[in-house]
Symmetry: C2
Subunit: 565 residues, 2 copies
């Protein structure tokens, strides 16, 4: 007894002295039948759930995830979205870039430090497994004694996704076939893993759709009247840009991708796949009823029903439907308010990380839809990204020179002649495994230039996500980026830092980042099918500063074999 | 011109001098939508087809298959069923035993010699990909100038399979869930990749089932009246034991698993998954019409419609339905004729490989259905087989001692007390990665002992397949094998050699093989779900004689890494 008491005391007094706690998770990824929108289909679960378990940690903590792959014949890899993996680039979880895939039956141990507070995500980064259900949230709180520059009573997290009834295998068979077969719009929008598909839809097998299945009971966010909630909202849609609204409740945007935002109030929030926001909501409406929270597809002319959750005023029953019709939300093709919101997001006074005032390199990335040997692809400056057999991190660190194309992809496009408003005269592109290598500690500007797709009068929204870094969002514009004039209007005073940012239809978005994180990092459209179809690039910096790579990330390409210790 | 002529001449005269030709195949495995039984679902194809391309070769030829895995997130491996891989045990294609899985995007090169004439098969040997459609036939002919001990005019091959509409992922989710969810009987039986599901079945989505799809036109075996056909029949069913019959036509059995059979005539042929037979059929019936060829499920009380093909007498139209009702076939639960056929198969006079008259070791293998931690499994002597992370061949060759359980599984069971006719008193089993190690060049007897499953009054048929060897089939019996009495009745005179053999319900089957092929070899029930559920064992012999292993088979378990050349 004395010994135990002593042990407890030691622990108690020891904790505050260590840098951060170790948070150890044991996860198993598996296919299981789930009915998140009442329709039963196989989903990839973590420990039986989709979304998977939340990681809740404090700044400085070490996260250890022992991931067992029980997907039978399918590999897996998990990316920790928004975590920069400083010093641990091999645990970024990007299959083909930072690691070999995790084989069925294997257990892979991810170990990394969450070095900043904020709202982050995790999700599969292999094939299209994210949209099969392998995703969840990461919430990192401030160290003890430090406080946020805003106050709230409770902290809640939700993730928005879109949901298909076709398996990812069925989708991919279409994406890579000639002619191209597009899966179409999602069957439903899920709020925190729950949505509602109409089981009476003609052609739906009755045995597969059960409207009374508790798995598709709308998610209820229960609030106490007059209290203020910090709601952390992440989007991990496969395809859709969304608008989120809680009827009758304004939201004050205070955080974006882990950075404090100069607060601004919105009636509804546009959110793109890969983004996270914290909004403050005060339960200041009539407390005798519930309210609809809704997520609506924008930027595409979708027939998908809005995702609905219940903003539940305690003590009303969480399943009591609000007496109203959910807010209609903005019109799908009204780009103006989306651009307005993008521009409105600035870094919060007192928390500004000033950007370098100049950059060492400017890369203009023209986003186009193309064909390669008759297969539909997406390209950057006419090069469509292909994964190599040996992950870049390993190939570069150990100088496997044949592992990928040594010639870098182009830094720009034919600015003078390319008409971004029309279908390209030549829609053909080439594949590439080449990468952008940046000198360590230099400053790089990226201009994402949108264009017309292969359909006349059509330009899509692409949310681009950068691994291993945050970037400053210097500006957004309409039409073709002008290298001379537009940089003069860059926001070099209080730009927000983010890891994911949209490029709007027929528009451009300008980013700046410091190439200061030794490793190899993907930068890609976060629409899962777009990345699958080649819409991404790879950056390298400071590879010589990367420490010895763990053997666990190997096993593919040039890393089949062994050496005796 | 002169040069070309000279080159052609050189080739012409050179061919007969070499040992065997090299037959080079380039294959791509891919998911594609197919409607083999009129119902559209994803299938794994090879070069766009299921069954995949046939390998047609001559004894002594070298087969090279460059297999590209385009399954996106899923690995693959192909087993060359019946090819002993003498000197090339690393190309047996058994994932977890002889190689690591082939990763998506990778191309793996199989290279082996077909050293004997006969009828063989190939199929995926990973997860349950075989029943997803990855299979085909291998036909090896005699060397020039040699002839078979029977005559025929034409040589034809067909493969019989059963076909599920649920994906293998859906099936496996059920197999490994608690409670166990069984996929049930197959939706159809395919003859050479073609079957017919009734699209009017209630609950079937009209858009998925099209009875007029040419992909489900019944297979037509066109014959010229009065000619004799050698029909090579292989079964690669996932589950079903089949009976094959061509109405009005007797069949003379002349080959089984690559060995000549003392000819015997049957009206219909029982065939189990993994077996091949050659039968001679003479088109000696009324030539003015066609005849039904039918494949019927036996040994299970199945509601699956018989598979049908058309035995088409030229010049009748190959799609002209026969005027008759297909033969009803034997009753599903009539075991006697099945046992009779098994016993009837003897080695052909003049082609007998005499078996060793004694054996060095006897292993009795009790086949039982069990639970492990509540999950349904199959076991041998109460040990249910689990794949290790490092394939045995690599682990044993390079002495990775931790890769699997070093204690061997038991050589027998509690013969005195185990009641094979009842559900076991304790249905729980244990998992094992242990293997049977046999001294090189010794003779091993295997007694496969069937028993009751976990359902009262139920014992199933299990076709067991041995990799890397043929075995002598010494005998079959009913009930419990008697170690003292039954060996006295073993056929040591003219037993057939086979690589796959059934153990009948509540019966036993006795085999003998020479442990003379250096390597590591699986021996397992060829029912795909049964092997997945643990119904298999591993044999090792002469590992010290195995040459250096190719790096291409590595990449998993202890073989993640690299060494500089």
């Amino acid at each position: 007894m004395n010994f135990l008491a002593c042990f407890v005391l030691i622990c108690f007094f020891t904790v505050p002295l260590v840098e951060g706690r170790v948070r150890h998770y044991k996860w198993e990824a598996k296919y299981e039948f789930k009915s998140p929108d009442c329709y039963k289909k196989l989903a990839i679960t973590v420990n039986g759930k989709t979304p998977g378990p939340s990681i809740v940690a404090q700044q400085g903590d070490t996260i250890i995830v022992e991931l067992k792959n029980s997907l039978l014949t399918e590999n897996v890899a998990i990316h920790w979205h928004g975590i920069r993996q400083i010093g641990t680039p091999w645990f970024d979880g990007t299959e083909g870039v930072t690691q070999c895939p995790i084989l069925p039956g294997d257990t892979f141990v991810y170990k990394f430090i969450v070095d900043r507070p904020g709202t982050y995500l995790y999700h599969a980064h292999y094939g299209m497994q994210r949209e099969a259900g392998l995703y969840g949230s990461i919430r990192v709180s401030l160290p003890e004694g430090e406080s946020e520059p805003f106050s709230y009573d409770y902290d809640r997290s939700i993730i928005l996704t879109d949901w298909y009834h076709a398996s990812t295998y069925e989708q991919v068979a279409g994406l890579s076939s000639i002619p191209f077969v597009w899966v179409g719009e999602p069957q439903s929008i899920l709020i925190q893993g729950k949505g509602r598909f109409n089981c009476s839809t003609p052609g739906i097998q009755a045995s597969l759709c059960n409207a009374t299945n508790p798995e598709c009971t709308p998610y209820a966010l229960t609030v106490i009247p007059r209290k203020t909630y910090r709601l952390r909202i992440g989007s991990l849609t496969a395809l859709s840009a969304l608008n989120f609204e809680i009827e009758g409740h304004n939201m004050t945007v205070v955080e974006a991708d882990g950075h404090y935002v100069e607060p601004f109030v919105v009636k509804n929030l546009f959110i793109y796949s890969g983004e996270t926001y914290s909004v403050l909501i005060t339960a200041d409406q009539d407390p005798s009823r519930n309210y609809w929270a809704s997520a609506k597809i924008v930027s595409r002319n979708s027939n998908t029903t809005n995702g609905l959750a219940i903003f539940n005023y305690y003590p009303n029953h969480p399943r009591r439907n609000p007496p109203t019709v959910p807010a209609p939300g903005p019109h799908w093709n009204d780009n103006e308010p989306r651009l307005t919101q993008s521009i409105a997001i600035k870094s919060r006074q007192g928390y500004i990380h000033p950007p370098p005032q100049t950059s060492d390199r400017v890369i203009v990335m023209l986003n186009t839809q193309n064909n390669i040997n008759g297969v539909r692809r997406w390209s950057i400056n006419n090069a469509s990204y292909n994964l190599p057999h040996t992950p870049y991190l390993i190939a570069l660190k150990y100088n496997f020179t044949d592992a990928f194309d040594p010639s870098p992809p182009p830094d720009g496009y034919d600015f003078a002649n390319y008409d971004i408003y029309s279908v390209a005269k030549n829609v053909n592109a080439t594949t590439s495994t080449g990468i952008y290598r940046n000198k360590f500690n230099t400053t790089v500007d990226i201009i994402l230039q949108n264009a017309n797709t292969m359909n006349p009068n059509n330009s899509e929204t692409h949310p681009w996500h950068l691994h291993g870094h945050d970037f400053w969002v210097l500006g957004y514009g309409k039409g073709k980026f002008d290298k001379t004039k537009d940089p003069k209007n860059f926001n070099l005073v209080n730009p927000i830092m983010k890891n994911t940012v949209p490029v709007h239809p027929y528009g451009w978005t300008a980013l700046r980042f410091r190439a200061d994180n030794p490793g190899v990092w993907a930068f890609h459209c976060h629409i899962e099918s777009h990345f699958f179809m080649g819409m991404g690039v790879i950056f390298e910096e400071g590879i010589e500063k990367v420490g010895p790579l763990p053997k666990s990330i190997m096993g593919c390409g040039d890393t089949k074999g062994f050496h005796r210790p």
